[in-house]
Amino acid sequence: MIKNYVATLTSELFNLLQNNETVALSFHFEDSHFIRFNQSKVRQNTYIRQNEMAITFQKNLKEMNTVILLTLDFAQDLKKYQQVLTDFRKNIDRIDISPKFTAVKNNGHSELIKKVLRPDLEQILPWILNHFKNVDMAGFWCAGPVIKISVNSLGQFHYFEMDNFFFDYSVFDGDRASKGTYSAQTWDETHFNKNIQRTISKLQNLNKPRIQIKKGQYRSFLEPMAVAELLGTINWGGFSQAAYQQGNCGLKKLKNGDETLSSLLNLNENLSLGFSPAFNESGEIAPSILNVIKNGQLIELATSTASANEYHTESNFAESHESLRSLEVQPGRLSQEKSLETLGTGLYLSNLHYVNWSDLQNARLTGMTRYACYWVENSEIVGPIEDMRFDDSVYNLFGKNLSALTIEQELYPSTMTYQKRQLGATKVPGALIEDFNFTL
């Protein structure tokens, strides 16, 4: 229904263009149910129907952009578009040509529809809550289809539809907590139960006297979720061509060859994980795998065609924000089962929190430990630690101090819902790191 509406609407919209005007349209549709939980009860439930149409208007090598919301009433949507077109025409001659101007082009046609099998909302509520009758849970259920479409006045039409769901949750024993996430192509109650039991079982190890760690440097094992938290921040401009060229790239020294990372580190954008469309907002099809770091060497930055035009380099069809959409770190050789044994004495960290660049130019990150983090002696968990602040360089953490990566990788679909549901995923292993620097 959406696809037909977009085809009909856009054909009408493109008829309104005058000579030397071009338009590209990028659509986001979502039909979402959200449920927020606290104390194993429902705090808020929200249903959302959100239809966005991002309009890129080009004339005489100049460009302006506007996002409008579609009502799916043809006459209303057409009227809104006409108002935007009038505004573009009024302003565009008075702006300058941008060095990153990228002319709209026809990047072809594609269609991919991915369905999941998931329970209805009325079924899922008792299923979830029955598991937490005796445990304090706070969490978030999100489900429903997201559709992305990229169309332009030169004939391009790409369509991606993905139904998905996730349950992101934490369980608490007082102020001690552990975290889990469940998402799948097909809802499987057995897997769901196991996921919850594994998360709840972590609370048992937390039920020991808390240990206050002094600031200093510790051999540390990071579970995949903690690794994902670090990489989430590094991906904030760290792999971006535009950020590099403009002096604001966290990995500038790596790119310049002034610093190195461990040869154990292989990092890709892997769109074949299937959690985001193969096309970007302009409809360009990126390679399904882009090698970004190979054996510790930064070999490619995420480069949009706009950056490629501005800085006279090759595009790899990144999104305009130039963050990796589906970041994957290749596995290593350490078995997760042997993580405690290999760690010996040190910190076992399940999660990190509020990671931010503390010194962008030197790739230093700060953040906190969170949830199930333990002090380990002679391969045995001694007890949970008081939360600690770290401040350390990427060139230490994933460079000279990276000892091992696990064989097992964990896949985390994006749970971000700022403004609208974000697609994408992260797939990473756990990591053993020497001398992780804790400061407070």
Binding site: R43, Y47, Q50, L69, I97, D168, D359, R370
Partner: protein, 478 residues
């Protein structure tokens, strides 16, 4: 806005035990000019309807941009299905009259010239010339001038009889210069990244005033290239208002949110070290510390007359003479917790439900001039403009980085310092507050990007502060 929400109220009045409609129309121009040429010229014309409906004491929500009879029918039907299912497992049984009061009123941002009176092309020119001014400084490799210009109208009605219209004009101005020499890169901005956010009209785009400011920003970016690194030591610290806004936000605003204290946020942003029994008892800071929730400050970014449940917004002390007095929670959190709160149930837009948010949280002034404050310090550092921030999920252990520092030696400002940072623990830090500059030194900042909630929301916040002097702070450099 053509949709008649009064008509909707009549039509759907009996659809649930309580129902409300909020029509949000927000037009945003988000424009960025780099090195004198267009970087991003984006607009967002956002219109949608939020519906609240109550079933058996549980409030459910729907949001739709399909503002047609079919679209609204569908949203209400989906909300009813979900809310009926959820009501059997609800965390609290609310009385709609107590959480959605019957109030009638309106609000309009202070402005001399409405924002719809300035064209995108005129704003572009302003950004182009300010950007070029910064770029004209030798060694500046990148100069960005950007702004968000927002015209936002909220119309709210509910089945208890409330009718509220609020009309906001908002501008966030941002300038940054990145300078580079011999592998060293430094960045200086106009009070931090998009921290100069105000409710104001088009009169803010005064080119001559900002050309001078931009010249200063570029000069300081270059100055930092040859500055010394901030030392690593425990010393006195003066924090300028353009870093204090972040300090207040992270270590006072968030921990006092009642929904955090109640645990709603535990799976995402975190809990709080503040316990319900701390109100009226906890000495949060030294006697110099007086903090208010104040939604009535002219031009401050998060001023309003009513929150999004129709609760009238009034100034209230959160901390008085260092003692914790009140939390930041709307009517639902106040009833759930039994604690006093404020009118701060707010949503990022029509597509998210209201939750406890900060709005304007302001630190009141003291009795020192900045010169007097500096003269009292034998050895310390002054820091300006936030560039890095992080705090734990209970809001205890923080670390902040700033753009620009000055050494204080024997009561005088001496050399410029690059990469100044500090870290601390919330309650001991605020108890080491040794003095504040006077009311006339207070500067207003804010942010459009305070993140919280599931589904996630960014909200606009405002923070006004004088210069603040802290003893015994761990400062450090790169």
């Amino acid at each position: 806005m053509q949709l008649d929400i009064h008509h909707l109220l009549k039509k759907y009045q009996s659809a649930a035990d309580f129902i409300s409609f909020t029509l949000v129309h927000e037009k945003t121009r988000d424009l960025k000019v780099r090195n004198g040429t267009p970087a991003d010229l984006n607009q967002f014309d956002d219109v949608g309807l939020r519906i609240e409906l109550m079933v058996n004491g549980h409030m459910g929500y729907a949001g739709t941009c399909e503002l047609t009879s079919e679209g609204i029918d569908h949203a209400i039907e989906q909300a009813k299905i979900a809310t009926r299912a959820a009501a059997n497992h609800a965390i609290f049984n609310f009385d709609p009259l107590k959480i959605r009061p019957k109030n009638l009123g309106s609000y309009q941002s202070q402005r001399q010239k409405k924002l719809d009176q300035i064209s995108t092309a005129e704003i572009y020119d302003f950004l182009k010339y300010t950007s070029l001014k910064m770029k004209s400084e030798p060694l500046v490799i990148t100069s960005n001038a950007d702004c968000i210009v927002i015209e936002c109208q909220h119309a709210y009605v509910n089945s208890n009889g409330a009718q509220i219209n609020q009309d906001f004009n908002l501008v966030g101005l941002s300038f940054s210069a990145t300078a580079e020499k011999s592998g060293e890169t430094q960045n200086r901005t106009f009070h931090g990244n998009r921290a100069k956010c105000l409710q104001i009209g088009a009169e803010i785009f005064d080119l001559n005033q900002y050309l001078e400011i931009c010249h200063g920003i570029a000069q300081e970016a270059v100055e930092l290239l040859s500055a010394e690194n901030c030392p690593n030591e425990n010393c006195d610290l003066i924090i300028a208002p353009d870093q204090m806004y972040m300090q207040i936000h992270e270590s006072i605003g968030h921990p006092l949110e009642l929904d955090r204290i109640l645990g709603d946020e535990r799976n995402f942003a975190g809990w709080s070290f503040v316990q319900p029994e701390d109100f009226g008892k906890l000495q949060y800071g030294s006697p110099h510390l007086n903090v208010v929730f104040d939604p009535n400050v002219e031009h401050e970014f998060a001023s309003y007359s009513y929150d999004e449940t129709g609760n009238p917004a009034e100034r209230k002390y959160l901390i008085r003479n260092g003692l914790l007095m009140n939390g930041l929670g709307g009517l639902e959190s106040q009833i759930r917790s039994g604690l006093p709160g404020v009118a701060n149930s707010r949503a990022s837009s029509w597509n998210r439900p209201p939750i406890d948010r900060m709005a304007n949280i302001n630190l009141l002034g003291g009795d020192l001039s900045l010169d007097e404050m500096i003269s009292k310090i034998e050895r310390g550092v002054l820091m300006r403009a936030n560039r890095s921030w992080s705090i734990d999920d209970y809001r205890r252990k923080f670390q902040f980085g700033c753009e620009y520092g000055k050494r204080i030696e024997n009561g005088r400002l001496t050399k410029t310092l690059k990469n100044p940072n500090y870290r601390g623990i919330t309650v001991p830090f605020w108890n080491n507050l040794a003095g504040l500059t006077g009311t006339n030194s207070i500067d207003i900042h804010g942010s459009p990007y305070c993140g919280k909630g599931e589904p996630s929301q960014v909200i606009r916040v405002g923070h006004a502060s004088p210069y603040a002097w802290f003893k015994h702070v761990d400062v450090f450099g790169a």
